[in-house]
Every structure is written in C-alpha cells, then in structure tokens.
Symmetry: C2
Subunit: 300 residues, 2 copies
C-alpha cells in the first residue's frame, strides 16, 4: 500500500464492451452521436467498437462506419478491439490510434470465447500486434478472467503471468487485466498485482472490472493504493459478457469518477457531460442503467 | 492501515432503517415472518423496529406487536430504536436486548430530523441511556451525517468528536457512525477514524453506510483495514432516509457478506438464508432490491 496517484487515465469502453452485450440495436447514427458526446467529456480514451466478425457481435457490425463517421477530439485516444489481421485491416481503414487484442488467462474461457486454445492464440495475436505496431498504433492486450473463470474457478497468478509475459514479449504496450465475471474482492487484486509487479512496470497495467457483485469500486481503491493509474470503465455500467454467464457490465464510469473526484485524483473528466452521455444512451436503450450515480443525479 | 480482522459483527437494520422509508405497508405478520427468517441467518444483531411516535414513521407503527411476536433466537441480539423515555418504556415492554438512541453531528440535520438543536438533544438522550443501562440493556448511540450533511455540506471531525464524546459520557456502549446520505469516499472514512481513534476504542465504533453513490463497500474495506469490526447493513439494500433527500438505502447485507466471505472474514452468516430473506421481502415490497447480489443469485 502506498499513497494515491494524482492522475488517473480512464478508458471509456462503453461503445465496445458496453454495447456488445446489449440486446437492443443502437443505430449507427445514434452511436456516432453518443461517441461524439463521450469525446467531449474529457475521458482519456474511447474504445469505439470491435472489429470482430459481424456474425459474432451483431450489435457492433457497423464498426467501420462508426470509425469513419465519429469526430476525433484532440487529445483523446480512439481505439478498437481487433481479433485478427482482417479485423486490424478494417480498423486501420476506419481509423484508430490504438488496437486492442484479447485472450483469456483461462484455457476454457479462451476456448469458449475465441474458439482456440491458449497456445494457438499467441501466433495470431503476435502477427496482429506486430502489424499494428508497424502502423504506429498503441497496442493493448486484454487478458480476461485474471481472477476467476466461470468454467475453471480460481485462476492461478502463474497462469496470468504466463499470458501477460507472452503478450508483452509480442510487443503490446499495455496489459488490461479483466475481472470478466466481476467476482474479485480486494485481496485478490492485491495478490495478483503483487505477483505481476516484479515483472511488469505498474504504468503498463490497466485494470478492467465488471461489477457483478458490487466489488469493483473497492477493487479500484485497492489498485489505486498499489499505484495503478489506468482503468477501463463503461458509462452507466451498461454491458456484460456473452461468454461469461451471469456477468454484469463494467464498473460504471460515473461511479469511478465519483470516487476519483472524492479522492482528489485528477481525470480531466466533466461529471455533467458524463451524466448527459449516460442519459442519452439510457434513453436509447430504453432501460435503467445500473450505475447508482445515474439514478441519483437524474432524481436530484 | 493494518491487517484484516478475523471476525466481523453485522447488525441487520433492515426491519428498522430499511422498512422505515419504504412506501409500501408490510403487515405485522409478514414483518414477524421476515424477522424470524433473519434470526435464522446467523446475523449477530437485528434492529427489529423503531419506537418513535407512530405518526413519525407509520411504516413501523406496529413496533410493540412485532417485538412481542418475534421468536428470539439464542445468540442473536434484538435491538430497537428509541427516541425518548416513552419509546424506551414501550421497547422494554415489547422486549429488547439493546436500545439505540440517535442524533446528528450536523445541527441542521438534527433539527430537521428530531426537531431539536444538538445541545437540547443531550439531556433527553442522557435520561434514556441511563434508564436503558439501569434495565441492563446494551445501548448504541447513532450519530448521523458524520461525513456530509444534505444541508450543511462537509461535517468537521471535531463536530463528530464532540457528539461522540457526549454520548460516551452519557453511557452508550457503542457509537454507530452514519454516512446518512451515502456520499463518503474512503479517504473521508480514514480521516474521521484517525480523528476518533485517540479518544475511543476501535471496538466501540460501528460504521453505518448508505450506498447512494456505490462507495459503501470500498468504505467498509477501508474501515476493516483500520481495525473496525462492526457494521450496520440492510438485507438487499432496501431503505433510505426520509430526512435526507436523495439518500439511498443502507449498504446491502448481501454485498457486505460477499466481501467478507471473499476476504476470509468470519461472520457466522449463511449466504443462502440471507438470499431467501431478501427474496421474501423483495416479493412483499413488490420491487427489485438494489443489491447486485440479490439479482445475481436470483438469475444464477
């Protein structure tokens, strides 16, 4: 445990991780309007879509058009999920500052999610990472189920370490460690980070929490105390994971922001604009978003 | 920051703090059935009702009958809120192990909540505390708005200290420090506890969080690290505060339990029975309770 950082970098993953598991189709025009609103919030990075095959995630089948139509705000990093060379090609065409590849620390989750065993996944990602780096892009490696897997249970720190090692070896700039099913408690965060710190600089590690059991804010607090300064979050807490049964959406950007503001940690984000962007997508989805802050500020 | 405690004492305040702000009337029979279910969960204490004037909190106007009809489980402490001598008389008649008096660290909140200024409140409470102690009861002093007040904003640690001092002086066994409007972040918890620790033993302090902005679990985590071992919580997170606009219910017992189980901290509580008692009251209230765990386990 050390002091708290003075600044935090928030990556808004709502347009990707949020929307990919929502049932309701959001039109390309509404997505573009919404992402343009997000661009004005002051958030550091926006993962604006996923370039996986449209059949896999129909909700994001318009990734190319979204990428071409959104306004790029100066100072905001625009990234997208890319599963393979075809996805990267489309993403580069649509315009990205960052490419995110993904795999799982759990063999079974990896198999269910991307239909490949872990060792078979490396060569594919390595090619993508290399090509993205050649194109001058920032590359993030998402590692799913770093704490618990819905199929395998508790995941050993060594398994996470091994996947992280390979990804860094392949050239990723950042590792985003995912509590995919939202089951971790702060002592698990502490244990994992202690296991990774001897091998990776803290500023290369991003934490990505889902909030299934309401533990995400406490987990972020622990990570902040341990010197982590990058987090993924989703406006209003929308989303989930189609391949992790029962999992809820990411921790809400609104709640993370409330925490960070309260702690006096700078994010550059305007809370009012976050609320406006939350209400916009809440209305489009036609359902109440899980963030307590959205409901609170709406009724205040 | 120190290690984590091995045991935690949870006081279930759902039948009092939870129900007092719910609009829907729960019949005496249903309350009794529900409290009997709570008694079988393994929770350390149940605050079963409030003996304030029925006009003030109509939802709990049957406190006397509830107290007389519930089964008393061995090892469970049954307590109730008592505002004055009349309330205490009724509570003693109905049967209590513990009496809880209450006031606010904020002058304005105290005035709005109990229609008295802080200095005028002490003599009334002192008489109740003395009488309850004479009757051999455990006495807890609730101190509301210890972090922030909806009318006065940030509350100074000195103001909390002063109220706590008077209550301890008057003979209370425990102080329950309330984040009445659920706005605190972990650094506020740390600051307040550091301010109180030189004057009061840690094991006399209870923390009572509302979860308006989703910070309660992180706040509890901080308090645990600082050696606090007693917390108030409410099944499913039901409730609120009629005199603190916008405030949400207490932190959900279900979520606290998930945290504590994950940390390996013993509570003696059976998670399945907590879920059953949550579903029971959720059905009676006819609305979804805010705890993420209730929804998660119901769908699992």
């Amino acid at each position: 445990m050390c002091g708290l950082p003075s600044n935090v970098y928030l990556k808004e993953v709502g347009p990707r991780d949020g929307l990919q598991n929502e049932q309701k189709w959001i039109s390309t025009e509404d997505k573009v309007t919404w992402i343009n609103m997000l661009s004005k919030t002051g958030v550091s990075e926006i993962e604006y879509s996923s370039f996986v095959h449209p059949k896999m995630i129909p909700a994001l089948k318009d990734a190319r058009e979204v990428g071409k139509r959104i306004n790029r705000e100066k100072g905001v990093v625009y990234s997208a999920l890319v599963p393979n060379m075809k996805g990267l090609e489309h993403a580069l065409e649509a315009g990205i500052d960052g490419a995110s590849v993904f795999m799982s620390a759990s063999e079974t989750h990896n198999l269910k999610n991307i239909n490949k065993r872990i060792p078979e996944t490396y060569p594919i990602l390595t090619e993508v990472i290399k090509e993205a780096k050649n194109a001058g892009k920032i590359v993030t490696g998402y590692v799913s189920t770093v704490f618990d897997c819905p199929y395998e249970g508790r995941i050993a720190v060594e398994d996470v370490l091994s996947v992280c090692d390979q990804l860094i070896e392949s050239g990723v700039d950042y590792l985003s460690l995912g509590d995919t099913i939202g089951t971790a408690v702060p002592t698990q965060v502490e244990k994992l980070l202690k296991g990774l710190f001897p091998y990776f600089p803290k500023d290369k590690l991003i934490l990505h929490f889902h909030d299934t059991r309401g533990m995400a804010i406490a987990n972020i607090m622990t990570a902040l105390h341990m010197g982590i300064t990058r987090f993924d979050s989703t406006i209003g807490g929308l989303g989930g994971c189609p391949y992790a049964p029962g999992a809820a959406g990411n921790v809400a950007t609104n709640d993370v922001l409330y925490l960070l503001n309260g702690l006096g940690i700078e994010t550059g984000i305007n809370e009012k604009r976050i609320q406006e962007a939350s209400i916009y997508i809440q209305n489009k989805l036609g359902k109440t978003l899980p963030s307590r802050s959205v409901a609170y500020l709406k009724n205040a």
